[in-house]
Subunit: 701 residues, 2 copies
Amino acid sequence: MTAASSLDTLFRPRSVAILGASDDPNRISGRPVRYLLEGGFKGDIYPVNPNRQTVQGLKSYPSLGTVPGVPDVVLIAVPAALTEASVVECIEKGVTGAVIFSAGYAESGEDGLKMQQRIGDIARAGGLRLLGPNCLGIFNPQIGFYGTFTQSLDREMPKPGPLGIVSQSGAYGSHIAYLARRRGLGINYWITTGNEVDVDVSESLEWMAVQPDIKVIMAYVEGVRDGERFRRALELAHNNRKPIVMMKVGRSEVGAKAASSHTASLAGSDAIYDALFKQYGVHRAVTTEEQLDVAYACARGIFPKNNKLGVVTLSGGAGVVISDAAERHGLDVAPMPAAAQVKLKALLPFASVENPVDTTAQALNDMSLLAKNIEVILDEGGYDALLGFFSTVPNTRTLSGPLKKAIEDGCARFPDRLIALSMVGDEDVVQAYEASGMLVFEDSDRAVLALAALTRFATAFDLAIDVEAIAAGVPIGDAPLSEFAAKALLGAAGIPFLSERLVSHAAAAGDAADAIGYPVVMKIVSPDIEHKTEIGGVLIAVTQRDDVIAGFATLIARANQHRPDAHIEGVLVAPMAKKGVETIIGVSRDPVFGPAVMFGLGGVHVEVLKDVTFRLAPFGLEEAHRMINEIRGRALLSGVRGAAASDIDALAQLLVDISRFAAAHRDDIETIDLNPVLVLAAGEGAVALDALVVPRAAVSS
Amino acid sequence: MTAASSLDTLFRPRSVAILGASDDPNRISGRPVRYLLEGGFKGDIYPVNPNRQTVQGLKSYPSLGTVPGVPDVVLIAVPAALTEASVVECIEKGVTGAVIFSAGYAESGEDGLKMQQRIGDIARAGGLRLLGPNCLGIFNPQIGFYGTFTQSLDREMPKPGPLGIVSQSGAYGSHIAYLARRRGLGINYWITTGNEVDVDVSESLEWMAVQPDIKVIMAYVEGVRDGERFRRALELAHNNRKPIVMMKVGRSEVGAKAASSHTASLAGSDAIYDALFKQYGVHRAVTTEEQLDVAYACARGIFPKNNKLGVVTLSGGAGVVISDAAERHGLDVAPMPAAAQVKLKALLPFASVENPVDTTAQALNDMSLLAKNIEVILDEGGYDALLGFFSTVPNTRTLSGPLKKAIEDGCARFPDRLIALSMVGDEDVVQAYEASGMLVFEDSDRAVLALAALTRFATAFDLAIDVEAIAAGVPIGDAPLSEFAAKALLGAAGIPFLSERLVSHAAAAGDAADAIGYPVVMKIVSPDIEHKTEIGGVLIAVTQRDDVIAGFATLIARANQHRPDAHIEGVLVAPMAKKGVETIIGVSRDPVFGPAVMFGLGGVHVEVLKDVTFRLAPFGLEEAHRMINEIRGRALLSGVRGAAASDIDALAQLLVDISRFAAAHRDDIETIDLNPVLVLAAGEGAVALDALVVPRAAVSS
């Protein structure tokens, strides 16, 4: 059974049975019946309770077996101890979808985990899709289906609308559903996945990503088990232009295994989630309020294509506050064209007309001036979004209506523009403005944040996701690789290195140096010696043949002295590197999402300042450029203090190539370190001076 | 007349006259009369309007002269053109305080500015204190005094309460007053200063800082003209433990003058405000919502002394969200002591008991368990603040009361603790919880931010402000200073330099080098050559006497070649510096606040990463340590990659010494650059290798 069809049934059942249904509408096992009745469920409801003739006025059935037909969904509202029997009952009846509410499974310890796994196995074998356990269920207000006992519906049922909500936490999912309703936002689909013995957040997102009646998806995620499917879901949502507003909580470090590599010790799954969300254009909200604000704005369905924000206010101070906020959130309060400023000045001689346009309270005396003002701003300013600050004026009964009409009149010719207001008003006042298509925020900063998020969605939707399926590469085996072997492997994948020669005796070293040209660098080569400098295994700036020959002996002697057991492959003779900016590129393997590429500037930038950025492999050139542009020390690559600008294009290509290599070896490479990667002057390329490849098996063994 | 007494009269008049009072209660000139009447002003109201017998039911006077007695405050509600005559009228009558509402002054151009200055001069000469022009006035709900025409009182008058509001913008001041009222926060004093021809934001803050009936001050500032007085006001508020919650908007660069120095080009007045607010313990709010939240929390009057936050929730998810927020805002969700965890586990076997304590919904079934739980957390957890997350439960009518009682019972023995709730509830529900002394926030992140701010206030209040009046130093004159002269000057002030010798002929250079010991550094010394390296004026690692003698000639020749007109003082011979961490310390003169000290790590840290911090001079050791701890690259001073830890104490002392020197020369030094300052290993000190002092006159000439 495909994901689509199973969740179709769970979200749109024609009949529902409730095992353990209580007659008390306030009990956990009574509430689903109550909600189905209050919500006007458009299908059949079958309470199952052997001790009663009726449940909340409905005929009660002694067992699932006695229910007529096969219910599309069974809500299992019995204690944990009885759940397994209920699952078996469902399968015997031929049911294909069930929800388990009760807790006491994986979250409560070893025994609970075993019980949960057993139930999962039984369900899978019997073709039964399970939601839960330890979840608050699922609802779909369009058909009045409430497979939930959440307290948060106690006072008022949700209304249908453009929101889809997926939450691993039942309580959080309920909380945001309640907040959404207070904000006037309807919900078409709501699902909480709990312990995820079967249906998980990835599948739920995948399902929501293809629903035409969802305009925006809100998600709460603590951790993802199926990284592949999660990525597919995000990609699907992106391709269908469905914004996802994500609350990803918790910061757990990547396990001790990954910490063995220098690169990986900087990673940590939270950075990987950040990378993922950037790559797929997901908005990661920091606070619940932000999550609601952005979802609310998305539901309007207008995503401004440029980041220019027009601002109209009744107060100079508010204009400054909004300008500060715009800079913080990445919107451009670009000035009005000169001709438009002249027009505005003619309308309102006291106004500031550059942008923010401060009409002063004068505009309130003749609302037609405000309308005309807004019309000029939208017509000539080049803004895809307009933010108006009207403070408490909409709540003054005399001015509220005329103000609304003036804004409507000013916007009438521009239905494609996003109009947002920062204003304080009672609920009915706010709703009236919203009914006219305006977004309403009390706080101007929250308005600006949401508008900036919409602009980023517009940009992200228009960019193709730079991901391509990469076939697995030839396995590299599980033996440790020497620097020379690592460079050969990566060099074949397109990673540029210096033209080096591996030699096995002193005279050959001299010949190699003669061929390369002086000065040269010499390094010991052994798969058993990871950190060469620590044993004096590197000689730099060797300027003549005699020194090269003596140096060969020195290196071999040092290796023998410090690591008598090491297998020595020889000595590497290499040219001295040119001047360039030192960067570090690494790959580490996230246990859930696979290989991730890290980029940062060399030295203290990575180690002390943690000025690094990540992306999941593979990715393309545009994404590589975004990585490079993200680091705080970016200006160092543009040339500072008279230095030449660096070859950014070559660096980006190197990032792409390493990401593709990492993706091809997602199963057999644990980490890669290219440290340093020297980025030369523009046009001269980038070159990795050292390479370390750690096979996956080498770590686990 | 002292500030205190003038503002006393403006805030607490016994009689008010309104020049140009309108009978129409909705007009600008009618609204003050209406508000005084509606607010139940406890003094005499004298409308002045020659065209009417009565104004809004009150007897109208034909002129100010005919009003009985001398009104304490006159509200000048006449057009700009008539204002000057009104000011003269006030003085003739012997009035000592007036408010000018009308716009059209400094903000509207050159003519307006002149008119404003003239009015200011007249008032000063006549002993009349003026508020405005271009302001929305002043109010004090305790006595029903409303010297304002703000629209925002249209629907409802404010109530008295613990808030003081000072705003340069009338519209912003009105906006936050309205928001405060919606939040249930009363206001005892409200003032908007507009164009500040006389009364300004500094004086207003100073006045509020000593009012016993203000618990928290909200301020909106665009720019300060009297830096000294502003600092005094902040100091007074700090010493009186009055929290200031500040919205400082706008980011204007320090002028072109200051940009002439390398240090100053990194400054900019906004960074100086940041420094100031840190030094005086002012909370700088980023958004209006944050400003309200923090002020609301301050009004409770409990400032947690430690930064440990106890968290109790009904949902694991919320606990994770709150833990993330606590880390972001600097609070410590410290675990419960083991013994307390055992007790909690006994109470609620399914609960998470470490902290966040997740009681699960189980606690709702027996509220006494929740009460007991909270009691144990407060009794044994060591938390000065407790945040409870209860989602929508308080809004479910059946549970709201019992939940409130359970929290009250749990907290009963701990009246000194701060109890905050994150919950969603209708206005009356929220008010009931607040009436029990709990802070209520809908969003948990906003709750955590506010609690963190309270904790920072508590810390700041307990720290003495590290500021001491520094007597002016001996004037340094206005001629440019050579490096040698600068070092002599700063050396006398305690700044450590290498033991260098200035020599004027080659043999003396050789002798100096012999005495210092090889290798040495040699530098050309001239007040006319600021950037020595650019002309080859520095020789490093000179290893023998012959080279020193030859080097002397080289340096003189280079100086003559590049700057034939330069006055050459000689050549400096100095020891090679030891290994250390390069830092940069600078002083620049802010036009408003005087000398500010900048600190950062050397090289790219300052120039590219802008990893710098500022403080206004002078300051003491604690503040210097805070500066050092603030930079992102701080770890470099703790020793990374095997390097020794740096001598932080010596660095801090150097910062203190330069700050005191800068304060003593606040009038005659424009900038100082110590670049680099080498911080040696712990115990070995810090030493400035170069010094540049630019006298103020040297810049302006």
